[in-house]
Every structure is written in C-alpha cells, then in structure tokens.
Assembly symmetry: C2
Homo-oligomer: 315 residues x 2
C-alpha cells in the first residue's frame, strides 16, 4: 500500500536525524562489564547516556531453564531476532519497549520503555553475536579477562550479591563452559577494542597492586595517535607495542601498568586528555572506580580512551 | 555507517516479501470486537491468523491508573508510539515482543513473541488512533453499536466474566464517557467498514430475534458488486441502500435483517459466497456464533463479507 510505504519512509527519515552513538560492551558473566560502563556513564552524565543490558532478552525464565538442555548463554535461550530489531530501532533513534529479566527472582517481568539518548551503552553476553547486531554499533568492545580471574570475580559477586554458595557458582561455571566457548568468546574477534585486566605474569607485585590493563586496538576504527602522548617520561606507566593477535592479525597492544606510581598514571591521564584535545579542562573525575571503594589508574585510563572514541563518534 | 544501512535495507527487503494482510477492528469496550473476530479466525484457521489486542499497550497497570486523571481509554495511558512501531513491524512481516496486560489481575506482565501469519487481526480501543497506525492496515473496521446496547453488553460481560457489580460497571462507563467521545468514537470516520448491530426501531420484533446489522461500506476500499447477489428473492433478508453518513459523505448501507427467516439468510450467505467467487465449495461453517450458544445470520453474513475482503487483499 503506497500510503503505508510513504508513512514508513517519512518516519524513518524523521528518526534518522537523531541517531545516537551505539557502543557494545560484550563479555562473559562477571567479566567486568558493569564496572567498566559505570564510570563512563557517570563521566558523561545520566542525561546523555542510555544503558541497555541485552541479557534482558532471555526467552525463558530461571524456572523454565531448569528443564532445558542449555544455559542462559545459549542463543536459543534468547530472543536474538528481537534483540537485533531493538538494536536497529535504537540505532535509528527510536524508542523500544524492552523486556526485563529480574536477576534477583530469575523472572521475566513487565517491560520498560527505553528512549535512546546521545550515547547508548549496550552490555551483555551476546551483543556481538550476529552480523546484524554488530552492524548497529559505532564502537565494539570485548572484555577478555583471564578465565581464572573471571571465575574469582563471579564467585565473589554471586555469593555476595546474588545469594549463591561458592560451590553453586563453580558448578554453574562448569556447566556454562561449553557454551562460553561456543557463543561468548567467539565475539572477541569482532571487537574494535579487546580489554584484558590482569596481573603481569613476569612480575611479583605485592597484593593490592591494581591489575594492569592490556588494550588491543584493532584497525577497524581510527584510534588516537598515542605516539604524541607516550614520550619516554611515561614509558613506565604505559606503552604501546605492535604484535600479532592469537589469530595472527597484527594489532597495537596498549599496556597500562598497575604497578606504576598513581601520580605518574594521573599525569598520563591528563596528558592523554589534553593532547588528544577531546574536551577542554581536566579529564572527568570518577573514572577508575572499582565499585568497592578502591580505584584503578589502568581502568581510569581505559575508560578515558573509550570516552575519546565515544565523543569522537558523536561529532 | 554504510554497513549498518546496507544491513538494515537488506533486512527490510527480505522481510517485505512476506507481508501479511493487516485488519483493524476498532471499537469501544464491549462493542463486540471479540465476537466478530472469533468467527473469522475460526473460519480461516489458527495457522493462518495472528490475533493482536492493542489494549496490551497500556502504559500503566490498574493500580497505577487509580492515581491518574484519565482512564485506560486515553492515549496518554497507552504506549501509542510503540503500538505504531509494532504495527509497522508486523505489517512488514517482522515479529514483535508484544507487552501483555492481564485483564483479570489488571497487571502488566511478561511480554510474548508475536509472529505475523497470513492475516493479522488487530482489535482494541485505539488501533486507528494515529495516521501512522491507520497506514499499517489493509482493511479497517469500526464497531458502532448504539450506546445503550453496548452498555448492556458491558454490564453483562464485566459482571459475569470480570467479577464487577453492575453499579461498578455503570459508574466506570460514566467515568469513561468523555474519553470515549474524545478518543474512541472519532476513529469511526477512518474505517472502511462501519458495523452496527441493533434492532430495527420501526419494528416490534419478538424477544430473541437476532439483532439486525447495518454495514456502511465506505468507498475507501473496493467492495463486492452486491447488485449481482441481491436479486428480488433476497430483498427480505438483505438490501443495499445509498445514503448520507452523519458527516454528509455518501455511503452504501447494507442492511441485513435479523427478523428474516434463518433459511432465507442461509441462502443469501451461500449466494454471496458462490457468486462472489471467494473460494470454491460452501461458505465456512461456524460463522455467526454469538458465543452464548446462539447464532446470528446477520453476524454470519457480516463475517462472510469481511472474509471476502481479507481473502481478496491476500491475493
């Protein structure tokens, strides 16, 4: 019906004019997605950011999953096609009525209206699972902590915040492992940035030393020219090195050392902020918050680089 | 991002190829929407029909509405923009995750996946409320019973099936009247067919006589040439008359008389079915079911004409 098509087109055009910047943060359960995004959202301000967790697109609730042959990580356990549809709608500036999965009760409940603001932060287990979802993002990030570290984080969180015993969490991790390997970890190759927070194996740093960060900067988006930033005086806190990724592709690996004196890292952070000319004034505070009262300079610098990309994509 | 646009376009094209026939049945509460659609859905078969009630797009549940200055009939009480979006998606052959309003509990609950089949029957209070929703339909119908008859139907249903007292229902009807006038009844003018089931004022038919039907056939869609059907022998059961609508527009008014002998009406029904050449064989049975064990030939013939339009639009 021509009328219909005309209306649909007008609608699309009208909406296209206010396209938000779409950022995906993919990673396995307890890989640090929330910690990473919280600081960014705070730095930009809630009125500029819409946060979406795609784990809300579960097709079955916790009770129903008990009778099913797969875990919540499996694409068949999620409304992948609806996730694709909603990401497309958000990417073109349209609101969606997003399903809601209650992590406390394990129940699917009343959906909520989500309106895309200037930046849409999409985190979850499968945001990069399909070609169509990936096409919806301006910047894609994969969180890739060493498995033993992630296990520690998950046990800590699920026992402290979700009322499980350590044994229950470890059993669930074992049950999920094949699906993590099959569906979650393959998303790593599609990320513009791969982030790994871990201690440096070759060093014996005292306990309490913040984890170091390794950022793989893939050439799929334009990264800042850090050569201008990383002069000798800063080599101790941060350095850039080209290497081959596990798949053989050449990547830039940015290393941010958790053992470097905080003061030095702060200088680096200010230098990056000012010399990259992202915005005038000092870098936003509240970056690097680990959520447990502690701060991490490597996390702060990582979040700063993400802010650089997001603000750049918005221009 | 070009990638994104290409993906979005491919997706739209891929989906456009399986566009369902979209039918809207609008009308006030207890105007007879369900009775009308039930017969059609049964006749076509569940595997060919997707039924959607747009009253599920309520923004607030029953509890929340108590503190609000409007009733469920008010557009501000509904996610109209999401309703527009979902109707567009269904009209282009895409599934939606539809919100669900539980009429028994008055609660908004877990949404459900709706995949458009060959025919999508959309009924509810506001399906024709906006230009964009109207643009999504191939056939639009408005149910327009006399108010006193609708009140009787609503009292009967809400006391028998929804646990209200008659006084509660009448009080609610009074409370809703201004919003019915402002938001529901204005949809009448946008319908291709306006259906009114009522006794004929000029006659004293015995109680139990089925209500007669008046169908306004607006020239906004192509109606069957009934002149071929309505020869003299059938005038008693059904006749067509041109008149001016309340807004002065000329319309064809098809009158189907409830007092006509059932046998005669059955002949008319067969005649319409065969001479219109909708489908081979006899007209589908199960038409005209009033849901209370009784049948109505005027309803059956009305449903038959709707089937004619739906099957025609599908070609």
């Amino acid at each position: 019906m021509p009328t219909k098509l005309i209306m649909l087109q007008r609608y699309a055009e009208q909406q296209a004019s206010r396209r938000p910047v779409m950022i995906a943060i993919a990673g396995d359960s307890a890989a640090g997605k929330t910690t990473l995004t919280a600081g960014i959202a705070t730095a930009l301000g809630p009125d500029r950011v819409t946060a979406v967790c795609v784990d809300d697109y579960h097709r079955y609730d916790r009770e129903e999953r008990k009778t099913l042959p797969f875990t919540a990580l499996h694409p068949d356990c999620n409304y992948v096609q609806i996730m694709e549809q909603h990401l497309q709608l958000l990417a073109t500036g349209q609101p969606v009525l997003k399903p809601v999965y209650d992590h406390d009760t394990g129940r699917l409940t009343r959906p909520e209206l989500v309106e895309p603001r200037e930046f849409v932060l999409v985190e979850g287990l499968l945001p990069l699972h399909t070609k169509l979802t990936r096409a919806c993002f301006d910047i894609t990030i994969y969180l890739d902590p060493p498995e033993e570290i992630r296990r520690g984080w998950k046990v800590k969180r699920d026992t402290e915040k979700r009322g499980y015993t350590a044994d229950q969490v470890l059993a669930e991790l074992a049950r999920r492992e094949p699906e993590s390997a099959a569906h979650i970890r393959p998303q790593r190759e599609f990320a513009d940035l791969v982030l790994r927070f871990a201690p440096i194996p070759t060093r014996q740093d005292p306990p309490g030393t913040p984890l170091s960060a390794e950022l793989l900067l893939r050439p799929t988006i334009r990264h800042p020219d850090l050569s201008a930033v990383l002069d000798d005086s800063e080599r101790r806190a941060i350095h850039l090195r080209m290497r081959r990724d596990v798949d053989g592709r050449p990547v830039d690996a940015l290393h941010i050392h958790g053992y470097a004196p905080a003061e030095e890292s702060r200088l680096v952070r200010k230098a990056i902020w000012s010399r990259l000319g992202v915005e005038a004034g000092d870098p936003p505070e509240l970056l690097g918050d680990l959520g447990n009262g502690q701060r991490s300079e490597p996390l702060a610098i990582t979040q700063l680089l993400l802010l650089y990309h997001m603000l750049g994509a918005a221009r």
